[in-house]
């Protein structure tokens, strides 16, 4: 069952709203940060893997509805990323800014890889360019946005973790 207190819900809602409001101002959208995915990763840091998988499935369905090229591929990818993020954060990672940035970077790149694999775009040279150039750049901007969000909302998220 998803557990969400109002502070974490507020942070996630801000990220989701910013995703839609800032998108027209982000220039080349191939490298623009994905704030929907960032909301999932921020949630996954503090959630149980099962809850993060459910949240990933919901966000994935939303992403699929927005870009219905391969419906279901986003849900599959976000479910895996949500589960692995929550599990991996608990098992492997210590608390620090560089580690959190790397966590956001890896999550974004892995999501892109899974979406392309699940969408059967493997036989295309576009995939190589996407994974070698655009996805790392997008992962980088998402990591920067994630670190900024953690710094900005540190107090809310720390209080929630202590609780």
């Amino acid at each position: 069952m998803l557990r969400l207190d109002y502070r974490l819900a507020g942070v996630l809602l801000v990220l989701v709203v910013l995703h839609f409001v800032l998108r027209p101002f982000m220039g080349d959208l191939r490298v623009a940060p994905d704030l929907l995915l960032l909301a999932l990763l921020v949630y996954a840091i503090q959630a149980r893997p099962g809850d993060a998988a459910i949240a990933g499935f919901v966000i994935g369905l939303v992403a699929d509805a927005l870009t219905p090229v391969a419906f279901g591929a986003g849900a599959l990818a976000h479910t895996c990323v949500g589960y692995l993020a929550a599990w991996g954060k608990a098992v492997f990672f210590a608390e620090s800014v560089p580690v959190s940035a790397g966590f956001f970077f890896a999550g974004t790149w892995l999501r892109d890889l899974l979406v392309l694999v699940a969408g059967r775009h493997l036989g295309d040279r576009t995939l190589l360019w996407q994974l070698a150039v655009w996805s790392p750049l997008k992962a980088l901007t998402t990591a920067v946005a994630g670190v900024l969000a953690l710094m900005l909302f540190r107090r809310w998220l720390d209080e929630r973790a202590r609780a």
């Binding site: 998108r23 027209p24 959630a47 099962g50 994935g60 870009t67 279901g72 608990a90 973790a161």
Partner: protein
């Protein structure tokens, strides 16, 4: 920030993960009609306020950043429009002499491109105009630079366009003088900054020089007909050759989908080529 203490995976977590994976897999292999229905349901319920917000922000951004460009464009269009009346009259007279029917009118509606974040967003785009605006499946989508794609599905206030980058996209093309015809399809990723198309099926004896612009021919289409004369791209070289039979030319697309935020959807009735070339009853 400290992770919650109970974040290691339990049996319940694994079960939730597996159920979500199964649901996602079911969504992936569901029939296209069910996928489309689910997609429309999500877009028109949960996402409706967010997409409305994005559309409004897009309109505000566009109105600020494009004001000067639009004024310049308006002035140049105004200068050209002065000659249009005479050309229309001349065209009418020539058509009458050649016993051709009237030129068909093309209606259009403006739409914002609601850009999204998935890596597959370069293949399809959600547009802010739908059935209520007269958009229907098969409507061509264009930008001031040229052909952007074709509408694949519509709902009440939005539509989804298949972009020229999608593997299923095809359009009948020609050179400006109409001497060379072929079918244009995407060539795949040639690099991070290239947007390549293929002009297929050009007879071997017909050569198309580099830098030649190619346009829609007005023939064929996904479920309608693209009007003749929309720029598609520029020839940059020869791709493959079938010795003695045909050549495939490589072309750079006129429109870069990633940079497009505003499009025009042509909503007129499907152009009937047969009707366009039908003879009118000759006068006395």
């Amino acid at each position: 920030m400290t992770p919650a203490p109970d974040t290691f995976a339990s049996r319940r977590d694994t079960l939730a993960f597996v159920i979500c994976l199964l649901l996602a897999f079911t969504a992936r292999v569901a029939p296209p009609t069910a996928q489309s229905a689910a997609s429309d349901a999500i877009v028109h319920t949960v996402l409706a306020p967010f997409l409305y917000l994005q559309e409004q922000v897009e309109v505000i951004r566009a109105s600020r950043s494009r004001y000067l460009a639009t004024v310049g464009l308006r002035d140049s269009v105004l200068a050209r429009a002065m000659a249009v009346e005479g050309l229309e009259l001349e065209n009418e007279q020539l058509r009458r002499q050649l016993e051709l029917s009237r030129r068909l009118n093309v209606r259009h509606v403006s739409a914002e491109v609601l850009q999204q974040a998935l890596p597959t967003a370069g293949f399809m785009a959600r547009l802010s105009a739908g059935r209520d605006d007269g958009v229907r499946p098969g409507s061509p989508v264009i930008t001031p630079q040229g052909l952007f794609g074709v509408v694949q599905s519509v709902s009440s206030g939005q539509s989804v366009a298949l972009l020229w980058t999608h593997g299923d996209f095809r359009v009948s093309a020609m050179t400006l003088d109409g001497s060379v015809f072929g079918i244009v399809a995407p060539r795949g990723g040639g690099g991070p900054n290239t947007m390549l198309l293929e002009l297929r099926g050009v007879p071997y004896q017909q050569e198309v020089p580099v830098e030649t612009m190619i346009y829609t021919s007005g023939l064929g289409g996904t479920s309608g007909v693209y009007p003749r004369g929309i720029p598609i791209g520029t020839i940059v070289g020869v791709g493959e050759e079938q010795e003695g039979w045909s050549r495939t030319y490589v072309a750079r697309a006129a429109v870069a989908p990633a940079s497009v935020s505003h499009v025009v959807v042509l909503t007129g009735p499907a152009l009937d080529v047969q009707q366009a070339f039908a003879e009118t009853p000759s006068g006395p």
